[in-house]
């Protein structure tokens, strides 16, 4: 049914992603699909990593750990963005196309009033990505 699952991850908030990660892993096992974990970073030092290289290493380690824990085939893809706070959605949509992922599994935030003014990441990606999108409520 699908060929590849893409899971956007925010490595600083892994705790909020548990449900989405679980869903992605279960789907991967059910259909024997590889999962690619996609993370966005900047060239500037951040909380987790000082350089893009360090970030990529962290993402690689995360992906390997998920693979080993769940017994699934995993990969990772780090995106370098100049301004991740606003460029996140288009960057993820582009990544899905580049990686030829046809299913995106991602965590949502708790819906609030601001969603009328400010589109949510999940909502935007669901509307614009070519792939199917499974938004998992936190």
């Amino acid at each position: 049914m699908f060929t590849r699952i893409m899971v956007p991850v925010d490595l600083t908030h892994i705790d909020r992603l548990q449900k989405a990660l679980r869903c992605a892993a279960d789907l991967a096992k059910l259909y024997s699909l590889p999962v690619i974990y996609v993370g966005v970073t900047t060239a500037l030092p951040g909380k987790l990593a000082h350089t893009p290289e360090e970030y990529t290493d962290l993402l690689a380690a995360f992906s390997a750990e998920q693979g080993a824990d769940e017994g699934i085939e995993t990969g990772f893809h780090a995106i370098l963005s100049h301004d991740p706070a606003v460029e996140l959605d288009p960057a993820l949509i582009r990544a899905a196309a580049e990686l030829q992922a046809d299913l995106i599994v991602m965590a949502s935030h708790i819906p609030n009033l601001m969603d009328y003014v400010w589109p949510s990441n999940g909502g935007t990606i669901a509307s614009h990505a070519k792939a199917s999108v499974f938004v998992v409520r936190v």
């Binding site: 060239a43 500037l44 030092p45 951040g46 350089t51 995106i79 301004d83 706070a85 460029e87």
Partner: protein
């Protein structure tokens, strides 16, 4: 599969990261107010916000007292510390020139194998728009004419006798000095100031792994103490200077744009129109802020560059082209010849020029340097130090020289060839009316309606770019160097800046607070001198 999907393909090469216990964001407070998420540095965000509110309140309630106190502060600073400002600026220029020729110049920002984030065109456009775009619009005509006729730099006499007749033998020297004295204020020195700050920030973030805030540049000097109150004070001062610098120039900019609109379209010149202008500029800046660095500031900067180039080309071609080009060369030669005399800090006779203009400008550029420097740093990853300094110092200086030669050259020509009918003479020499000077010059050329409109558009878009990039910078500093803090925070700073401008415009106090911003130039000069030491230490430990 991991190899083919890895998104950051090239290794960035070895860098000498600073080994600190500090974790970026460790002092941050995350949470949400209603639907708005936030991620702010404690205590920099709160202290900066509160001090700004307190000062606005002070300027409004004790308006006369504030105007008097800060109004006197500025001339006192520039006349007492003129030697310090001039001397320090010379040190920055020499320091930058040394970086170009020493082996340190080959260090690459972001690691030995890092590739530039932006193309030359996009990079230049952003350097320029943030650095001085708006100033060029306002001083391009005013300053050359003023220095030629009134301020008498280095004692070069005015071509006008007291009764307004032209003294022929003074004309040539005064014309050249008018341009050279202007070029001095817009050439190597201001860009060296920006280059020092930008280089320090870029080096300590991209190569040393410290957060992108002003305090990081002081790590080699203060060590771990930069994460404590020493750093809080440095960062707060930077936020303070940036926000007030932007808000007061936004207030004055609105008045100036309004004067232009009145001059060209006969629009009423009053506070209501100015409030509308500030609101409009802030609204466009908000859209740009929401579109991010690449979709907002970069695009606007590129639009600006094209529009400014069009205006420059028009004035160059329609004005007396050959005369302008020979003025350009003559001005440049005079600048080179008199650079040492102009920048000599001691025992000067021409104090009107030296204190009223030079020392004032240096304090002004220095108080803006945290903002411009941080913005330049953010977009400069992947350049070598040598490339960086050449591109931040030499090329913008040349562009400024050309701009001043074209706009100032045409204006000077208008003033001298037909003084009786020259609008520039009326607005700059006979009465001092800076906002109108550009439009007065354009009036003397064909298609004045179109070019003046273009001028007003440029002024407004330059303000939008400043407001936008300023909000990004303030947000980053108040988020402890994080560039991915929630978007509502930027919206907050951008709106806050517009609101402060409107409040000060309505209640008075713009000039008092602007004078105060300029006085932050004094402590920041010390900060910049220390930065030179820090850059030296940082570069020395970097693998080449």
């Amino acid at each position: 599969m991991t190899d083919e999907t890895q998104g950051i393909p090239e290794p960035e090469g070895p860098v000498e990261l600073i080994d600190t216990e500090y974790e970026i964001g460790q002092d941050n407070v995350e949470g949400s107010v209603g639907p708005f998420g936030f991620d702010i540095h404690n205590p920099v965000f709160v202290i900066s916000g509160l001090t700004i509110v307190i000062f606005v309140f002070y300027a409004l309630v004790f308006r006369e007292q504030a105007t008097e106190a800060f109004g006197a502060l500025r001339p006192w600073l520039t006349s007492t510390f003129n030697w310090f400002f001039l001397g320090s600026a010379n040190i920055f220029v020499i320091f930058c020139l040394l970086l170009i020729v020493t082996p340190w110049g080959s260090v690459r920002l972001g690691g030995r194998d890092a590739t530039p984030d932006y193309t030359y065109a996009g990079w230049f456009a952003m350097l320029f728009a943030a650095g001085m775009g708006i100033g060029l619009m306002f001083f391009g005509v005013l300053e050359p004419v003023y220095h030629m006729a009134i301020s008498e730099p280095l004692g070069v006499p005015s071509p006008f006798a007291e009764d307004g007749t032209i003294i022929e033998e003074n004309v040539e020297a005064a014309k050249r000095m008018g341009l050279a004295a202007t070029i001095y204020h817009w050439g190597l020195h201001p860009w060296a100031i920006y280059a020092v700050v930008a280089l320090a920030l870029a080096l300590f973030s991209f190569n040393k792994g410290l957060p992108l805030t002003i305090r990081s540049a002081f790590y080699p000097i203060f060590g771990e103490r930069v994460w404590g109150w020493t750093g809080h004070i440095i960062d707060t001062l930077a936020v303070f200077a940036t926000l007030f610098g932007l808000a007061t120039s936004l207030g004055f900019g609105a008045q100036q744009a309004n004067a232009g609109l009145e001059h060209v379209f006969g629009l009423p010149n009053n506070v209501e129109v100015q409030v509308v202008l500030i609101t409009l500029i802030t609204a466009v800046a908000l859209v740009s802020v929401l579109r991010g660095l690449d979709g907002g500031v970069k695009v606007l900067s590129e639009i600006n560059m094209v529009l400014a180039a069009l205006l420059l080309l028009f004035v160059l071609l329609v004005g007396p082209t050959l005369l302008i080009l020979s003025d350009f060369v003559a001005g440049l030669v005079t600048y080179a010849q008199d650079l040492v005399a102009l920048s000599y800090p001691l025992n000067r006779e021409d104090t009107g020029y030296m204190n009223g203009w030079t020392a004032f400008y240096w304090a002004w550029w220095i108080s803006w340097s945290p903002f411009v420097g941080m913005f330049i740093a953010r977009v400069s990853r992947g350049r070598t130090v040598r490339e960086f300094v050449i591109c931040v110092l030499i090329i913008p200086s040349l562009v400024c020289v050309l701009w001043m030669a074209v706009f100032g050259g045409v204006a000077i020509d208008q003033v001298l060839s037909d003084p009786a009918n020259s609008a520039v003479k009326a607005q700059v020499i006979d009465s001092y009316n800076p906002p109108i000077s550009l439009f007065a010059m354009l009036e003397g050329l064909p298609l004045a309606g179109i070019t003046s409109t273009l001028g007003i558009v440029l002024v407004i878009v330059f303000f939008v770019t400043s407001s936008d990039s300023g909000s990004l910078v303030i947000d980053t500093i108040t988020a402890g160097g994080k560039v991915d803090a929630p978007v509502p925070q930027r919206v907050f700073w951008c709106t806050f800046e517009g609101a402060v401008a409107i409040v000060l415009l309505l209640g008075g106090g713009l000039s008092a607070l602007q004078a105060m911003v300029i006085s932050t130039g004094l402590p920041f000069t010390v900060v910049l001198l220390l930065m030179c030491v820090a850059i030296g230490k940082g570069l020395a430990s970097e693998p080449r």
